[in-house]
Assembly symmetry: C2
Homo-oligomer: 457 residues x 2
Amino acid sequence: MNKYRQLYQQHKNDLFQKFLTLLKFPSVSADPAYYGQLNACADWLCNYMKDLGATVEQIKNYGLPVVLANFSVDPKLPTVLIYGHYDVQPANDRDLWFQDPFEPLIRDGKIYGRGVADDKGPIMMGLFAISILKNLGQLPLNIKIILEGEEESSGEAIFKLVEREPEKLKCDLVLCTDTGGLRSGRATIVYSTRGLVYKQIDLIGPSHDLHSGTYGGPVQPPTNALALILAGLFDAEGRINIPGVYDKVRAIDPDERKAFADLNFDYERYKNHIGTDTLITEPGLTPLEQNWCRPNLCVNGIIGGYTGQGPKTVLPSTASAKISMRLVPDQDPQEISGLIDQRIRQLCPPGIRLEIKDFGQAEPFLGLRSGPAVEAATEAITCVYECGPDLIREGGTIPILSHFARYTHPNVLCLGFTGAECNTHGPNENLSLDAFDKGVETMCLFLELLAGRIERS
Amino acid sequence: MNKYRQLYQQHKNDLFQKFLTLLKFPSVSADPAYYGQLNACADWLCNYMKDLGATVEQIKNYGLPVVLANFSVDPKLPTVLIYGHYDVQPANDRDLWFQDPFEPLIRDGKIYGRGVADDKGPIMMGLFAISILKNLGQLPLNIKIILEGEEESSGEAIFKLVEREPEKLKCDLVLCTDTGGLRSGRATIVYSTRGLVYKQIDLIGPSHDLHSGTYGGPVQPPTNALALILAGLFDAEGRINIPGVYDKVRAIDPDERKAFADLNFDYERYKNHIGTDTLITEPGLTPLEQNWCRPNLCVNGIIGGYTGQGPKTVLPSTASAKISMRLVPDQDPQEISGLIDQRIRQLCPPGIRLEIKDFGQAEPFLGLRSGPAVEAATEAITCVYECGPDLIREGGTIPILSHFARYTHPNVLCLGFTGAECNTHGPNENLSLDAFDKGVETMCLFLELLAGRIERS
């Protein structure tokens, strides 16, 4: 038993009370009704980190408070900036939960509650690690903690802060804790996430709904037009058919392909979880490669005309779709957004007025796959888990990562201690106590190892 | 002033009270809550026709009552069977009406109320004509009246009656009064209507909604698949791309094309009414020809995924569409339905389970464009309106017509006295008093002329 585990076991009950308190804040950023709770949660975090010895501040200029804590040890030592978010997804599906989502419940080795995996658990792993390290003497390096309150509502506050006040966030490595894992019982290093372009397409045909018999033929139904436009975004092989969209997509590195294959990922289990017997890939790609390394276009929503029970012979006046494209390095969201618009306009048939709404963009991220920080993390994980990390990409999007890499420090590392079974964003969000404990220990060990490996810039 | 107009003007006030009474029945067949009112309406019609000298019966074996009245004069004279329906569309949009839709209102030369144009007004034109003709002596031929109560709810009662009890409906001409007109101030003879095949397509992808980032690529979204399938039903020129679908479509008769051109139809007014600046046609066709003489495929409804405000990165589990095809002579609904299913199955991509629901079919109808009955109608209309009828096709569907033509009598004539401005099926349904009066007079004259023109079979 290492020194960290020992000390953690001694103080676990006390520490855990703090975790439960944090989980009880209904810090739902999507709903302004909870803004008071978000502010209270930020205050509580500040006080807790002050108790741990940090100097703290709240930045409220850009939106909901961004909490910034500074555990300064020695200016000669390197500094790590740990990122997390204290806001959570809504939990309006209360009937589907075992308990009140903001009254955490421990059962069968798991802790249930909204935010326990995303991202309050990972935040607490970092703070507990700091507490333990300080208990053992002093921190091995300078630590900054940045916790935002708008991650689940696509807020802009932290983006503005990162751009406009880089000196506050000065560091030698950014560590992101808001990462999931590929499979349970493992820790994960995610070194790439996909970017995002999201749009709504509104089609307007006749000024009012018409009878499909009396008018069908001379009048273009926007529902028909919508199908034509959306289908026109794909070629016969199911690839994206938008000229230029693949131009900057990197070929997959042979080293990476080998590393993915070495994961021995269980596709049968994956298919069972999804509830499908068919996975779609371009020729020569595995499903993980398809998800991680290739852009993807998804029709997220579609609506038009009569959608109730039975038939209604209506030729509708309008139809709409929401579409999003996931981007990979080195696709540029702005450029891709323009290509999509151009293609949609080209596909729009006569008799239809087209409006395109943009829901924002996020850049793809490609971070560290090797180097001192990855080595330190791998060593810490291997020591605690008795097996190495899953070193992976991720199909989803974490918009802040590329922003940190551009404005704060080029070296951004993502450590994940949660897994697919955590029901992140869903009902009965949970985290196994074992995963939490391992996360705390790994963080202790990682910070110690990191201190000896990275350079002060 | 002809003899019919004179007598009608004398008795108009009394007769009109009957019309108002009929309009007050909320005979909404779509809603079982109104079945009592439908029965009461049928009873009232029976009593009224009994008062006019008919023997009447109600056939209730097949659904809501079908009212059958027999005005027998002389077995040696020919018999005309007049068809109409006493049920009406729902009027749940009460806020949009000037008044209670079942409290008829006369204002500015129009009578407002649900069913006034579709089809209680046309029914009353026939019954008033009978009353006037009897007042002047006797009916010039035998008249049967058949009034159903399920036309607005796609009921089957009259179809079964027509198939199973043809002897009750024996006649020498079927006259349908449930026809609209092309433009106001004219009477219309519709000699062809389109048929219909209507289906719902349900696509099932993953067993539950997924995150479009974490799963996008290897998993086929049913929304994407729906667009591919629907778009695959059309070719690059917008024609229907279902092999075999045009095989039996008749070329348009040059005589008909000339007759359509001679209508001098006002397309600018038509486009203004629709609210579009673009009408779609196959090469060489006019918009009316496109609507009347060519099959058409319309996506009547489409739904899948997230359709609320803003973005949501969901890869949905299901997506659905409702599609209908209007058929022209000599397309066979059953055959076309099979071709559509086959094409949809062929277009369905891997990873998607497909279900197709059928909402029934209707045959196209091609009736009389010339001959003694059309001549009699044309002469009567020309006399009353001081211009001839619009002799037209119609893009919509009247399923009972081809059933009458097959089981009752091959000669089916459709006379229309209502127009596009009547707001049929919409709020403030109305009929101009002038159109009503002209309809009554035309019916009197038509029945007189018809008696001398058609043969007893």
